[in-house]
């Protein structure tokens, strides 16, 4: 690296912000389209990308671009809800474990570790089936698997904060424990929290798509990306690649933008890694 260091370091953040803004606009357009995107038209099935249909049409004659933008709204919204609930739950558990009594820590962490032992997607699937397929079940499944991820990482940080000199200093001043937690520990967790929220947002988008792909998330004809990719699979071999490729690229772009953002936040705290 040379003189352009600071600009070089900044552009990924700016780029990822711009991409995220584009997605939000896409999602907004999608919400205006609403059910229109699901209207089938047998007279124009499987048309390749053209000026009329920028991303072509699918097997039922629906415009792929419209469906991708509706899907953006669904993915961003549901992933955000899942991560918000998961983060809140995880933070509460982490504070109780990291700052509370040791028995509380043990009692709370054991089930967290048990849930973490399952591959995230598979447990979410099982929960979604048990609750009956649908987007709500999928979100509940994702939240259940995200809570322990937050709980474990934030707990580690909370425990570390206890040996930070400024937290000890707060103790020697005579601050009660709960006020130390709110005034000093929660801000201390801020960066980790941001990193975790961003990282889990990305993985929630993928998990949601995967749940729909295997058929326990969105039900047809909902324009969810995973369901669309599943639908595109049958056309892939026969040459109509755009049906399945388009929603995947949309998903990939979103997750990459989020991950670049995550990396940058992480790197600012710990310059050694990526």
């Amino acid at each position: 690296m040379n003189g352009t260091t600071s600009a070089w370091r900044r552009w990924p953040v700016i780029a990822s912000m711009v991409i995220l803004a584009v997605y939000l606009m896409l999602a907004l357009a999608g919400t205006f389209l609403g059910d229109q995107a699901n209207v089938a038209d047998v007279t124009r099935t499987l048309r390749p990308p053209s000026a009329e249909h920028l991303l072509g049409t699918d097997g039922e004659g629906r415009d792929v671009l419209s469906r991708v933008s509706v899907g953006a709204g669904i993915s961003i919204m549901l992933a955000a809800i899942s991560v918000a609930l998961g983060a809140a739950g995880g933070l509460i558990v982490a504070l109780a474990c990291g700052l509370g009594a040791r028995w509380l820590d043990r009692v709370l962490m054991a089930p967290m570790n048990a849930v973490l032992a399952f591959p995230q997607l598979l447990l979410a699937m099982a929960i979604a089936i048990a609750l009956g397929s649908g987007l709500t079940s999928a979100v509940i499944g994702i939240v259940v698997t995200i809570i322990p991820v937050f709980a474990v990482t934030l707990r580690g940080e909370a425990l570390r904060s206890r040996s930070e000199a400024f937290v000890e200093a707060a103790t020697t001043i005579g601050l009660p424990r709960w006020r130390i937690a709110l005034r000093h520990v929660v801000p201390y967790l801020g960066t980790t929290m941001t990193v975790q929220i961003a990282a889990n947002f990305g993985s929630a988008v993928i998990t949601l798509a995967a749940l729909s792909y295997v058929g326990v998330g969105a039900r047809p004809p909902t324009a969810e990306w995973g369901a669309m990719i599943n639908d595109g699979l049958q056309h892939a071999v026969s040459g109509q690649w755009w049906v399945g490729v388009a929603p995947g690229i949309a998903l990939l772009g979103l997750v990459i933008a989020v991950n670049i953002f995550t990396d940058q936040v992480r790197a600012r705290r710990r310059p050694a890694g990526w």
Partner: protein, 339 residues
Amino acid sequence: MFRDIRQRLLASAVTIVLASFVSFVVLRALPGDPARLIAGPLAGPETLAATRSSLGLDRPFFAQYGQFLWNFVRGDWGYSFSVGDEVREALTSRLTATLELALYAFVLAVVGALVCASVASFRPGFRRGLVRLFALVGLGSPPFWVGLVLIVVFSSYLGWWPGPSGRLSPQLYPPEPVTGFYTVDFALHGDLIGVSDSAAHLVLPVVSLALLPWAFLTRLLTANMADTAGQPYILVVRSKGVPAWRTHVRHVLANSLLPTVSSCGLILATLITGSVLVETVFNWPGVGAMLTEGISAQDFALVQSFILLSAILYVVGNLVGDAVNRMIDARLRTPGAAR
């Protein structure tokens, strides 16, 4: 040291027992009628009643859990209506197909990650940027979509490798099973056409499956290598006159591997999840594809056994990672040794 190991084993056992409890709760407490889920949507009233009594649904909650645990331990994992066989039978009969896929993917991911991470930490600039970009793509792509794209490009368009047609071309017969791996079995029988055909069928699914663990490992290793390369002992090694690449192989790599090995369980988890998502794309006749079918058929007995088994695999994988770490790192062999 032995006390340490005993504690690790104990903690792992507790996690497994709790995991079994979680999977029990998901099955029994969440759904309205567990018997319906277990027996399947097509079961008649008698079957339902039989299922109910075999599950002991009239008994107290913890007695039911005890029964479930006992059944699981003795290998009675229930009946899969979507396959039409005992769950255990169904899983074991398809295991080798998945294992062949997963093993090659594992090797590809690990070797690829070692090479790419070394390149990235050794050659800043363009090559590092390239590795970094690919890792980001790998982390962001759902494996089933990667499979789809690979089929579109390399099978439909370029025609280099076969698309979604399972483990073999239809005109070939599977080899006499020895290991269950087609590539190995064909080689053992000296059937070169078989070897190349089965290998060609492996390429795309293995790449789709390996991408995620490769990306994960590459990122982890690169971060660790950057960390290690900044350590004073690396400067000391360089001050001895040891060339940069040899320093990297001998010292940086060895020290970066330690934290990587302990994520063994996570790699296993990504492979298991990946096989569930990838196998259907390629019509691969393994346990993953079977599970996907089971999921769409709401075959709960199958799903439940599968997730519990993968949780156990995860815990065991972590234990193995720990053990390997212990072998590499002398510090861990001495109790209470700090850096």
